[in-house]
Amino acid sequence: MSLITLNVNSRTHTVDVDSSTPLLYVLRNDLGLQSPRFGCGLGQCGACTVIVGGNAVRSCVTQVSTIRSEITTLEGLAKPGTLHPLQQAWIDEQVPQCGFCQTGQILNAKVLLDRNANPTDAEIREWMAGNLCRCMTYYRIQAAIRRAAKTMADARLGSGTEVSA
């Protein structure tokens, strides 16, 4: 076991775990963050996605000791009182069915829009293809990503400044 310090959703935590422990179990079981979920343990489905230093990372195959940057989980995406435009779009489109995979869908979509504010349909499909959903909400997810991209573009136009998402 070793002491490891993590910065998660703008809070600092120190945990005493084996350094090879997958980040997923530290987030869920030590920090009580329920949004990243175990889906495969193989990095294949995306249910465990978190954002580390601006990248979508599969926490089930990422050793906790390798983390060097701030972690954002779904719990940390909204600002106080205001959902992220992607979360609002997810509500407006009524995307989730069971909802189990949606953490990864939303966070991976955030990284997409951070890098490409106006993705084409083909770019959305390609970027999101590794995030699986067995309720098959893909059609709504893609609609929500387009909606959020538009909301964010409108906000930029309206304010005349770059909106950090």
């Binding site: 076991m1 775990v17 084996d18 422990t21 997958p22 179990y25 869920r28 079981n29 009580g32 963050l33 329920q34 979920r37 175990f38 889906g39 495969c40 343990g41 193989l42 294949q44 489905c45 249910a47 989980t73 779904l74 719990e75 940390g76 995406l77 909204a78 106080p80 009182g81 959902l83 979360q87 997810w90 509500i91 009524q94 995307v95 989730p96 069915q97 069971c98 909802g99 189990f100 995979c101 949606q102 953490t103 939303i106 349909d121 499909r125 999101m128 293809a129 590794g130 995030n131 699986l132 959903c133 067995r134 309720c135 098959m136 909400t137 893909y138 059609y139 709504r140 997810i141 893609q142």
Partner: protein, 800 residues
């Protein structure tokens, strides 16, 4: 960390603020309905944006005994609080189709209360009456009536109380949004909360069974329903997108430990010996638990349990004979096997004689593999044995069955066991949630501490319950004018030893421990559900078994729409083959088969069949011509196909438009059209999204899903070896047309039918028919993976 077995202080405080009274707890305690629901204020601490109502049942305090809520007491269904809000208690579960929202809409309408003044608790065995949990897409269709009746009865009782208060007959009173007023003088009014808030109704209901529960009141005519028919947003979605939702995977309890199973590496293997020293020194190791061929490890931490399950040295003995053929040889095996049972042929007219003189006879065979649930989150459950009780936190859609089954399996009195249903991944059908719930409870009893069981991906994909593989043989006879005179349908299903829900003799842990029922369930093979008038018909079905009957990863049970996609793939593909042989447009061919004279009941069903087929064709912009279309020149070929069926009383027609890449074999469904008649629609937006999910689920089974195995074990064990539909496969466009072709659509008792499964049923056939239209090549084996489509196209090219 959230602890579910005790109510956190801040939640309790928040709940009291929400309810506006400190008597609510006392009420619930006194009424036996002790429950904490996360209302607005409680959730507001986690998120500012969730709606006031979150159907998050969190466990009660106290250690039982857990009596069954009395379905003949109105108080078991509806509680009205002093602030005029209401909580509904229903014994159903919501798999993500928004049935909880729909139930609330129906009950709000009957009770005359605003939707946002209500909350709904589902599927907790000690709090909600046993409506069976979910299954069969019958929640809205059947249980919705029960809920409407009890809510109408509550309204009636409240009106009588107001009548006593105002000394006026009920017909001189009006109700709106939980307030009863005097029609002649609306300033005289009283709220539901003032009438009964915090007190019991003490009204006895009648009915021989839970489904028949009723009071004296009658439900409202459809014309008076105001909340039903609105696309209200689902109450559970905000917490699912802000991360605050509470799931069965997150259930914890003080002292909880983590378990992982160790499965036999070969199907039918016998456990010879365990070297416990191989894991005894690992950090956090608690115990190896073994009985028969069931084996699990328990550790303090989750990652420790995973490591121990991988490191444990176990000696297994392979069975003397192969447990099954390999998946490539499966259909040949099924066709040559002696059936374990066969139906008596269902014969109409004289198919043999008519077939013998038909102008054209065509014949085709179809094959559908085993397909699994493969839930996105593998099976799981948490069991807490505190105080000599057993509380299981599970996403099992049949929480009541899980309670009964576990009590029987562990030999515990039923009133010492309860199941708290919480949401989880994908619960449709007989998922492995049953198995994981039993395993958690068994281990919790053995260890004496709360145990969280979590299956790994390879277990879920290899060992979950499978929908049965099928082979079909169809023959059809056409006359010289292309009319269908005779049809023969012969189906074989690998459904022997079909396992039921939460059965303590057939759940996986019981099988591995050697516990057996007297005989395996016979299983069944099913028949088409269309309403074609075919004068001469023979329908025969058979069930076949595989060599390994018990402890097999190829164990069969109910998958979402258990037999529908398989049967409809064969029957609706074959109708298309007949239409092509008759050189008739596929829509026209179907409509002709549906316009025959027949009995009243059949006419009713045919009328609705015709309506959905016509609606789908109109929405698509169907051009009338026979299939296939002239094959195009470039690498991408396009085509469209139709398919239709009933499921229960719901009828669906679907059109798929495909692009087939003839150089790679890749199929993309560019557009879906679905015309759907499920009677009265409760929530149109929710219905639309349910249908979208169903279409793509059917598409996943059409294009990707197949359980593969060699002669020792299942070899499809993860998302690479067992692919599923992805974002890349998503159609560019999905059009849903809601139809209601009831002969009297304005009748006040217009029924509401199920929608959870019907629209995944005709999808495989629609895609196959579209591929044929595009390429002129018929693909008769599911799934239509690139390599198989390409091989089929190339074989057809060589043959021509």
């Amino acid at each position: 960390m959230t602890v579910f077995t005790k109510i956190p202080k801040q939640v309790e405080d928040a709940m009291e603020r929400w309810s506006g009274t400190t008597s609510r707890r006392d009420f619930l305690k006194n009424s036996g309905l002790l429950v904490v629901s996360f209302g607005t204020a409680a959730m507001a601490e986690a998120s500012p944006l969730v709606p006031r109502s979150v159907a998050q049942t969190v466990a009660a305090e106290g250690a039982g005994p857990y009596q069954d809520p009395d379905f003949r007491q109105l108080d078991s269904w509806i509680v009205i609080h002093e602030n005029s809000t209401a909580t509904f208690y229903v014994g159903k579960t919501d798999g993500g189709q928004g049935t909880g929202t729909a139930f609330r809409q129906m009950m709000c309408d009957e009770l005359d209360i605003a939707f946002d003044q209500t909350d709904l608790i589902m599927g907790a065995t000690d709090l909600t009456v046993d409506q069976g949990g979910s299954g069969g897409s019958d929640g809205i269709e059947r249980d919705g009536w029960t809920m409407r009746r009890v809510a109408a009865e509550a309204r009636r009782v409240l009106l009588e109380m107001a009548s006593d208060l105002f000394k006026l007959p009920v017909d001189q009173l009006a109700v709106a949004d939980g307030v009863i007023s005097v029609k002649a003088d609306p300033s005289r009014k009283v709220s539901y909360g003032d009438l009964i808030g915090g007190r019991r109704f003490n009204v006895t209901l009648t009915g021989q069974s839970i489904n028949a529960t009723t009071g004296k009141a009658t439900v409202k005519p459809v014309q008076d329903l105001k909340i039903v028919g609105q696309s209200l947003p689902r109450y559970d979605i905000p917490s699912k997108v802000d991360g605050s939702h509470k799931w069965a995977v997150g259930a914890t309890a003080p002292g909880m430990v983590h378990a992982r199973n160790v499965r036999p590496p070969f199907a039918g293997a016998k456990l010879i010996s365990i070297d416990e020293s191989s894991v005894a020194g690992l950090p956090g190791f608690i115990r190896v638990v073994n009985k028969g061929n069931y084996l699990a490890v328990v550790c303090e931490r989750e990652e420790q349990a995973i490591a121990a399950s991988r490191q444990l040295k176990v000696e297994w003995q392979k069975p003397a004979t192969p447990p099954f053929p390999n998946s490539e040889d499966l259909y040949q095996y099924m066709r040559s096997a002696s059936p374990t049972s066969s139906s008596k042929p269902d014969v109409v007219g004289n198919p043999d004689a008519v077939m013998a003189r038909a102008a054209k006879v065509i014949e085709a065979e179809y094959e559908v593999p085993f397909q699994g649930h493969t839930a996105l989150g593998p099976a799981h459950g948490m069991a807490d044995p505190s105080g000599g009780q057993m509380t299981i936190y599970s996403n099992d859609m049949k929480s009541y069955g899980l309670r009964r089954g576990v009590a029987s399996f562990l030999g515990m009195p039923r009133d010492r066991v309860r199941v708290v249903w919480m949401e989880g991944p994908q619960l449709y059908g007989r998922t492995a949630a049953d198995d994981a719930g039993f395993e958690a409870a068994y281990l919790a009893k053995e260890i004496g501490r709360p145990v969280r069981m979590q299956w790994m991906r390879h277990e879920e994909t290899a060992w979950d319950v499978k929908g049965p593989a099928y082979t079909f043989k169809l023959r059809g006879g056409l006359d010289a004018q292309g009319r269908l005179l005779a049809l023969e349908y012969d189906a074989r299903s690998a459904d022997y030893n079909h396992i039921g829900y939460n059965d303590p003799d057939t759940v996986l842990i019981a099988q591995l421990m050697g516990r057996r029922p007297a005989a395996p369930a016979a299983g069944s093979a099913r028949t088409p559900s269309e309403m074609y008038a075919i004068p001469n018909r023979r329908v025969t079905t058979h069930v076949v078994g595989l060599p390994l009957v018990w402890e097999s990863p190829l164990r069969v049970g109910n998958l979402r729409d258990p037999n529908g996609p398989q049967v409809t793939f064969a029957s609706e593909s074959f109708i298309d083959e007949l239409a092509a042989a008759a050189k008739t447009d596929p829509v026209e061919f179907r409509l002709k088969l549906l316009t025959a004279d027949s009995s009243d009941d059949e006419q009713f069903k045919r009328r609705r069949s015709i309506a959905v087929i016509k609606a789908a064709a109109a929405e698509y912009g169907w051009d009338t011509r026979p299939s296939p279309k002239p094959v195009g020149k470039g690498p991408i070929l396009t085509g469209r196909g139709i398919s239709y069926c009933y499921r229960g009383r719901t009828v669906v027609a679907e059109i798929a438009e495909v692009e087939v890449n003839r150089e790679t074999g890749h199929v993309w469904v560019k557009r879906f059209v679905c015309a759907h008649d499920c009677g009265l629609v409760i929530n149109p937006g929710g219905l639309r999204r349910t249908i979208e999910g169903n279409l793509l689920y059917g598409l996943s089974r059409a294009l990707h899903e197949e359980v593969q195995f060699d002669t020792e074990k299942v070899t499809s064990v993860d998302w690479r070896t067992h692919p599923t539909l992805t974002h890349a496969d998503t159609p560019a466009r999905i059009d849903v047309v809601v139809v209601n072709a009831d002969p009297n659509p304005k009748r006040p008792d217009l029924p509401h039918y199920g929608a959870g499964e019907p629209s995944c049923k005709p999808t495989i056939a629609a895609v196959a028919n579209a591929i044929y239209d595009a390429t002129g090549v018929r693909i008769r084996r599911v799934p239509f993976r690139d390599e198989r489509v390409l091989a089929t196209l190339e074989a057809a090219h060589e043959a021509s």
